[in-house]
């Protein structure tokens, strides 16, 4: 039963991803992407990583995707934008990316042939994660915090002028 759930979630993730990336309307695509993320969260949970599953939902699907939503709303592409997207998705544009990704996938699968048999099934509790995170990985935490800070500053700097400008126009 649980195995079935795994395969179902995997299928959902796959389908949702494909759909997300082939939509012409950004908002629709975003919704599919969120579905895909949620399905992956299910996979995490099933593999015994409840903490990761939770973060996937809260931060990925919750926070990051919402950023996308904001931006899509701000840009307000409209119908002609959707039509143009649809046009860009036409047949010939698929050839080279399709072949390349297919080849890469083939290579990846070949490379993964000899992967170890299966996951252990034992869950890793958040406590262990926290201990490891602030133990051996403390430097990574610091770096990540720096990264976030710089992301913050960069986003503020890049976004600010856009907003100011629009306000002045109004």
């Amino acid at each position: 039963m649980m195995e079935m759930l795994f395969y179902l979630a995997a299928l959902v993730a796959l389908l949702a991803t494909v759909l997300a990336l082939t939509r012409a309307n950004a908002a629709h695509a975003l919704i599919y992407l969120i579905v895909s993320l949620l399905a992956v969260a299910v996979l995490f949970f099933l593999m015994g990583a409840p903490f990761a599953a939770a973060l996937e939902i809260v931060i990925y699907a919750g926070a990051i995707m919402v950023l996308f939503v904001f931006v899509i709303m701000m840009l307000n592409v409209g119908e002609e934008g959707v039509a143009r997207e649809r046009e860009w998705l036409g047949g010939r544009n698929w050839i080279v990316p399709g072949i390349l990704s297919a080849l890469l996938l083939l290579e990846l699968l070949l490379a993964l042939r000899h992967a170890p048999a299966a996951t252990s099934g034992t869950a890793v509790a958040p406590k262990a994660i926290g201990l490891t995170l602030f133990g051996p990985y403390v430097l990574a935490v610091e770096i990540a915090s720096m990264l976030l800070l710089s992301g913050l500053v960069g986003a503020y700097h890049l976004g600010r002028r856009f907003i100011v400008r629009r306000e002045r126009k109004r």
């Binding site: 015994g48 973060l55 990704s101 170890p116 299966a118 995170l133 503020y156 400008r165």
Partner: protein, 104 residues
């Protein structure tokens, strides 16, 4: 609670497929927003592989890397979307085939 015992090659194959889908999207789409979404898919696929590996060895490291990927994704999206706004302002389009200045 305990998790499932899932064949690794299947999880990793899923991650690989998702990653390839992301790549496909990255190369296929001309709209910068979709390209960013594709990046998210790829990051997510990588995260899936890490988590699966962590589960295989019952170690916390996989999830920790996921956490780091998450921060990277967050920062990237923040800056990336800021850039999207700037591109829209400067080029009046989100089409990355047009938003370029190099003549080549």
């Amino acid at each position: 609670m305990n998790g499932l015992q899932i064949p690794m090659e299947q999880v990793l194959a899923l991650a690989g497929i998702l990653f390839s889908c992301g790549l496909l999207g990255l190369m296929l789409r001309r709209n910068i927003i979709f390209m960013l979404m594709s990046l998210e898919v790829m990051l997510n696929a990588a995260a899936l592989a890490f988590v699966a590996a962590g589960a295989k060895w019952s170690q916390a490291d996989g999830q920790i890397i996921f956490l780091l990927i998450l921060t990277v994704a967050a920062a990237e999206v923040a800056v990336g979307l800021g850039l999207v706004l700037q591109i829209q302002r400067r080029f009046k389009t989100l089409d990355m085939d047009q938003a370029r200045r190099l003549r080549g």
